[in-house]
């Protein structure tokens, strides 16, 4: 860094240099971490730790207040193509999941084990502590009534994620202004070199799950509807949401210490939780 050199401070060259250093460190860390990381939560949850679990039928939604210290497991028992998620700070619902910040701050759209779900206030709503799928989408969102009409035609009546989120939000006193962009798990969407969004057929497996360790008291909404880019033939199945009591944090928690950005996001969260 060049902070000691007053002539260089606050010049475009100073900021460019600092940005390139941040980018190089982040992309190096991201590429090394993708080689594999021991899961932080167990594959089999001790039954004594389970607070509640819910089977969400295909097409339906579920919402719940979940306290810090719990983990939400989304279990895709039958390989259904997409489970969309929204999250709000339970105490101040104007603070909510921000998919754009989530991918921008972490320098990747590939959200998987070790990555964080960030709010618009620079804080950690949840950490991904286990992920057997690794194929999630934060760019193309969830299904809508109009999208389903184009995809399935007028004769097929299916539920959609946007309406599901409006319903879930309403049951916590929230409305359409609170329903922003979402993240869809088990949605294997990648970009090709021309920027096309491509659904990676065959990338979903029965029994895949993702663990979201809840870092602030939150309201969660899940919508179990196929992702808008999934094939129109994809059938939808039930999924299981499991809320379980998480062991206390290890001070060497890999999610917290994964990157300098993660450390700073957790510092913001810690500071908020202190008062």
């Amino acid at each position: 860094m060049h902070a000691a050199d007053p002539d260089r401070e606050h010049t475009p060259e100073f900021y460019r240099q600092r940005y390139l250093e941040l980018k190089a460190r982040a992309q190096d860390t991201n590429s090394r971490r993708s080689l594999g990381l021991a899961a932080e939560s167990p594959r089999v949850i001790c039954p004594d730790l389970i607070v509640t679990q819910e089977i969400i039928p295909g097409g339906w939604y579920w919402s719940r207040r979940i306290a810090r210290g719990m983990t939400l497991r989304i279990l895709n028992e039958h390989g259904t193509p997409g489970v969309s998620l929204l999250m709000w700070n339970a105490h101040e619902t104007s603070e909510r999941l921000n998919p754009a910040d989530t991918i921008k701050v972490q320098w990747t759209s590939r959200l998987t084990h070790g990555k964080l779900l960030l709010s618009d206030m620079g804080r950690v709503l949840a950490a991904i502590t286990h992920d057997t799928s690794g194929m999630h989408d934060a760019i193309a969102g969830g299904s809508t009534a109009g999208g389903n009409l184009r995809k399935f035609g007028p004769d097929v009546r299916v539920r959609n994620t946007r309406d599901n989120f409006l319903l879930a939000a309403a049951k916590h006193g929230l409305d359409s202004r609170d329903v922003g962009p979402c993240i869809t798990f088990f949605a294997p969407v990648t970009t090709d070199s021309s920027g096309r969004l491509v659904w990676q057929e065959g990338a979903l497996a029965n029994g895949d799950f993702v663990d979201l360790r809840i870092e602030m008291d939150v309201l969660v909404a899940l919508s179990n509807c196929p992702h808008p880019l999934s094939p129109a033939t994809a059938s939808t199945h039930s999924i299981r949401a499991i809320v379980w009591q998480t062991p206390p944090h290890d001070p060497k928690d890999p999610c917290r210490n994964a990157t300098e950005e993660a450390m700073r996001a957790f510092e913001n969260t810690d500071s908020y939780l202190e008062h």
Binding site: G122, V179, T190
Partner: protein
């Protein structure tokens, strides 16, 4: 790269509205159905963070994810139909002298800046500060901020998910044109960010013009 408009629409008739947004400042205005909004990147490499709301019902607003899912590509360009959160067409992008524009990386904020660039950047001006002040004129607040379009901001999303803001592709005078498909409120933050390349590390003014269609 997305196809560029081969013959830029050089409008000869006078615009009904012509305004320079100073560097780092917000702007808002109504664009009526059929009217054409042009945003000019006067000096080049200047991100223009933009939100749209239905003028008749502000709860209907730009849907970045809806727009990308419907077009099946990750960027905004000529031919993009800008959809609302209800899946209705808000505007069509009819001209673009650049090629690709981001809509996945959102707007900068003081809070996100602390995470991205360090806690010492908290007290630097940011787009969401602009948005909040501008939206307040219409009775809206932070809840009403959704993922926006970043005209002239270059954020390639690679096949492995790697995503970073890189140097803007826009040259001085580059512009985009959008034709409104409904009456829309357009809210802009002329991005003040200096911690990444979205403004060439040097925020500059942009110009907005409106023509009757």
């Amino acid at each position: 790269m997305k196809a560029r408009a081969k013959t830029p629409l050089r409008r000869t008739e006078p615009a009904i509205y012509d305004h320079i947004i100073p560097a780092c400042c917000p702007w808002s205005g109504i664009v009526r159905k059929g009217q054409i909004l042009r945003i000019v990147d006067i000096e080049g490499q200047q991100a223009v963070d933009t939100l749209f709301y239905s003028a008749d019902d502000f709860s209907e607003r730009y849907g970045a994810q809806e727009t990308l899912a419907a077009q099946g590509t990750a960027y905004i360009g000529v031919g993009t139909e800008i959809l609302s959160n209800r899946g209705r067409s808000m505007l069509s992008m009819i001209a673009d002298s650049v090629g690709e524009h981001d809509t996945s990386a959102g707007a900068c904020s003081c809070e996100a800046n602390t995470v991205r660039f360090g806690h010492h950047t908290r007290y630097m001006h940011a787009c969401r500060e602009n948005f909040i002040v501008e939206l307040a004129k219409y009775g809206m607040n932070k809840r009403d901020i959704v993922s926006n379009i970043n005209f002239f901001m270059n954020v390639p999303v690679l096949p492995d998910g790697t995503l970073a803001i890189v140097d803007g592709a826009s040259k001085p005078g580059d512009y985009v044109e959008l034709q409104a498909e409904m009456d829309v409120l357009c809210v802009i933050s002329n991005c003040p960010q200096v911690n990444n390349p979205c403004n060439g590390f040097n925020p500059t003014p942009v110009r907005v013009l409106i023509w009757n269609g």
